[in-house]
Structures are given as structure tokens and as C-alpha cells.
């Protein structure tokens, strides 16, 4: 029969699996084999689910034929002049536009942050302070320079600077973009002054994430007008 401590742990288990680590829960888990078993089982289920998910099934080819026939019957498909131009237009947009188009906004912003953090951790150097500082700085530069260039080029995209149905809102987004750009410049300076300052780097990456998010919002509004 479960003890009160076990019941308390089970009440916190949902938060535990989401990554929160209350100190008392950790202490109980270290000493309780039953609760360890529960946590281990949930991890196993999650891992097995991921393995299952890695194998995507291919639908049979005839499915598209059936679908197309149905769409033609309903009159939803008809040939347009644009069909011939589609590939030409696509080539002009570049990888960044395509990247934005494929990935949902919150995931995109999160993916940038994760990639930046991963690169910087990978570039962390040996123990000696001057060498370590130089490597941290280099790592941050390597991670952020191409991203910064791509975000700036995306900012110049005509779709991003389009007016949408609510210019006051678009103006607010642009104003906030200017705030974030200023914030990025100041964070960069701070990182140069203290390369090993993790909090400053965290602020810098957060700022890039905010910029990506704002640009995504502007891009979506611009597309609504196209």
C-alpha cells in the first residue's frame, strides 16, 4: 500500500515528467523503489513511443489518384496560368522563406534557440580562462552571425514589410522590432565584454528568438494581403 510520501510524489509526478524538480520529490524518489519503478516505466513508454514514431508509413499511391478524381468532380481543381510559373517563383524565395513556411512559429523560434544553445555548448573549450573566454566568444559569433544575417535579410523581404489590414498593428510590430534590434546590439556588446557570462548569452539568444517571432508575425500578415 502506498505511503503518504508516495501519494504526494504521485501528485507531483506530472510536473516531474515535464522537467520540474521539487527538492522534496527528488529526495523521496532517491529512496523509494516503488516510485522509481513508476518513473522508469513512464520513461520506457515515452521512449518506445518515439521509436514507433520514427517509422512513418507511406500511404498507397492510388490514394492521390482517388483524391484528385474527387477534387476534379467537385470542381475544386482547374488549370491556371500560375501553374507554369510556380517553380520559378519558388526558386526566388530562398531557403529562409521556405523554412518559415514549413515550421510553425513557436517551434521555429524554439528551434533557433535550441540550435544556438547546442552550438555554443559544443564549442565550449578547455579550462584555461583566456582560451576559454576566446572560445566562448568565437562560439557565440559562429552561432549568431549567420542567424543575424538571415533574420536581417528576411526583414527586407517585401512580404514582411507589407501593410496589412491593420497598419496600426503592423506599426506596433515594427516599433517592437526596433526595440528588439537595439536589445540585440546591447546584449552582443555585453557578451563581448564578458564572454563566459551565461546570463548575458541567454538574453542574446532570447532576443533573437523574439526577433524571429516578430518577423514571423509580420510575414503572416504580409501573406494575408498578397
Amino acid at each position: 500500500m502506498a505511503s503518504d510520501d508516495c501519494k504526494r510524489f504521485l501528485n507531483q509526478l506530472e510536473s516531474w515528467t515535464e522537467g520540474e524538480r521539487p527538492a522534496n520529490a527528488g529526495a523521496h524518489l532517491r529512496s523509494c523503489v516503488r516510485c522509481q519503478s513508476v518513473v522508469a516505466d513512464l520513461s520506457t513508454i515515452q521512449a518506445e513511443g518515439r521509436t514507433w514514431g520514427a517509422q512513418e508509413a507511406e500511404p498507397p499511391e492510388h490514394l492521390w489518384s482517388l483524391l484528385r478524381a474527387q477534387l476534379e468532380e467537385e470542381g475544386l481543381i482547374h488549370a491556371t496560368e500560375a501553374d507554369g510559373k510556380a517553380e520559378v517563383v519558388a526558386a526566388k524565395q530562398g531557403w529562409f522563406g521556405g523554412f518559415f513556411a514549413h515550421i510553425p512559429r513557436p517551434v521555429l523560434a524554439g528551434a533557433y534557440l535550441s540550435a544556438l544553445v547546442a552550438v555554443c555548448v559544443a564549442l565550449s573549450g578547455p579550462l584555461s580562462k583566456p582560451t576559454n573566454e576566446a572560445q566562448w566568444l568565437e562560439g557565440t559569433e559562429v552561432a549568431t552571425s549567420p542567424l543575424s544575417a538571415q533574420l536581417n535579410s528576411f526583414e527586407q523581404d517585401p512580404i514582411t514589410s507589407s501593410r496589412d489590414l491593420n497598419p496600426a498593428v503592423t506599426a506596433s510590430l515594427h516599433e517592437n522590432l526596433a526595440v528588439v534590434d537595439n536589445y540585440i546590439a546591447l546584449c552582443k556588446k555585453s557578451v563581448q565584454e564578458e564572454p563566459q557570462n551565461e546570463i548575458a548569452r541567454d538574453y542574446l539568444y532570447g532576443a533573437y528568438q523574439q526577433k524571429a517571432d516578430l518577423l514571423a508575425q509580420l510575414h503572416e500578415r504580409g501573406e494575408n494581403v498578397q
Binding site: 513508476v38 518515439r50 490514394l63 467537385e74 494575408n224
Partner: protein, 203 residues
């Protein structure tokens, strides 16, 4: 052709654009349907229905959410409507989970400490256990742990809150744990019975 361009052309009725959108998303949608219903014929049917609904409504897509989120929401709804019809009652998504006897926490079932699942489950066991989940739990588990969606995406797809998604996922995993332990105990019982029967036959 990038997706945004395909959407724009599909809204004008372009056949290559429709096909491009289909090719971009068909595997993910089909895999989702197959995992939810575990039957290839039915999964094909559901995939076709999901894309049909998508293409019928594509003119109304305004870009408030990502296209894939919108499509997967349609697909999940198509699957859940089918499961609801099979179940014979008009339960809401919120109701398609097991009611909790107490304040909503998971059942307190430990299993013995020596019955850990690690090493004892594989895809087949897991699939069988997932098939027994109520539709709401099944959807969230498949979307998160199998298909790899984050909670904020699941919240948009299932039109619930992030908190609800997390809570449903936790309950789904706990229920799966119970089902898998039951399966292990059943198998152990069958093995013991088979061993006893064979010894009895030798006597």
C-alpha cells in the same frame, strides 16, 4: 515549390499545387490515422477524407496558424468523429477520457517493484495497449510521444489548453502503464499454465 506558394496556388485551383501539399503532408497524416485506428483500409479512408476537407476549405485558410497545424487539426477531428460514430454516442473530446473517481489525479497503481516495463515492451505491446485507450488519451499520446508534437501545437490541433494537453498526456501514460502491466501479468499466468499443463501431460 514552397508550401506558402502551393497554398496560394491551391486556393486558385491549381492541380500541381494540390499535389504538392498532398506530397508534403501525406505520410504524417496517414501515419497519424493508422496509429489511431490500427486498420490500413480505414486509415486510407480517413486520410482521403482529411485531405478532401482540407482542399474544400483551403480558400478560407487565413494563416492564423501554421498550415500543418490546421491540417493535422482537421485530420484529428476526422478520426475522432469516426471513432465517436463507432462508439455510438456524441461524446465531446473532453469526455472521451476515463472519468476519474477522485479529484482527477491518475489511479494510484504501482505494480510490484520487480515488474518494471523496461525490456518487456515492444512496439506490438505498446500498439495493443494504445488501441485500448479512450480516444482523447490516445490522440494526445500519439500526437506527443509518437508523432512528436509539442504541447502548444497539440493545444492548437485539439483546441484545448496547453495545461489540458499535459494533463491528458500524463493520464494516458499512466493508463498505458496499467495496461502493459496487466498484459505482462496475463502473459506470465499463461506461461505458468502452459508449463503446468505440459508437466501434467508428462505424468
Amino acid at each position: 515549390m514552397p508550401e506558402s506558394e502551393a497554398i496560394r496556388l491551391a486556393q486558385q485551383g491549381s492541380a500541381p499545387a494540390f499535389e504538392r501539399l498532398y506530397r508534403l503532408h501525406n505520410r504524417r497524416v496517414y501515419s497519424l490515422c493508422l496509429r489511431m485506428v490500427s486498420n490500413t483500409a480505414e486509415a486510407e479512408d480517413l486520410t482521403q477524407e482529411a485531405f478532401l476537407q482540407l482542399f474544400r476549405k483551403i480558400a478560407t485558410f487565413r494563416g492564423e496558424s501554421a498550415f500543418s497545424t490546421w491540417l493535422h487539426r482537421l485530420a484529428v477531428n476526422v478520426v475522432l468523429m469516426r471513432l465517436r460514430k463507432k462508439g455510438g454516442n456524441e461524446a465531446s473530446l473532453e469526455e472521451m477520457t476515463e472519468p476519474d473517481e477522485d479529484s482527477g489525479g491518475p489511479r494510484r497503481d504501482f505494480g510490484g517493484p520487480d515488474l518494471r516495463l523496461s525490456g518487456s515492451i515492444d512496439r506490438v505491446n505498446l500498439q495493443r495497449a494504445v488501441e485500448q485507450l479512450p480516444p482523447g488519451y490516445k490522440s494526445v499520446f500519439i500526437l506527443h510521444d509518437v508523432q512528436g508534437y509539442e504541447h502548444n501545437e497539440i493545444a492548437k490541433i485539439m483546441e484545448c489548453s496547453i495545461g489540458n494537453s499535459k494533463s491528458q498526456l500524463h493520464k494516458a501514460r499512466m493508463r498505458l502503464r496499467e495496461l502493459l502491466h496487466e498484459a505482462m501479468r496475463d502473459k506470465a499466468r499463461e506461461d505458468r499454465k502452459a508449463a503446468t499443463d505440459s508437466r501434467g501431460g508428462e505424468d
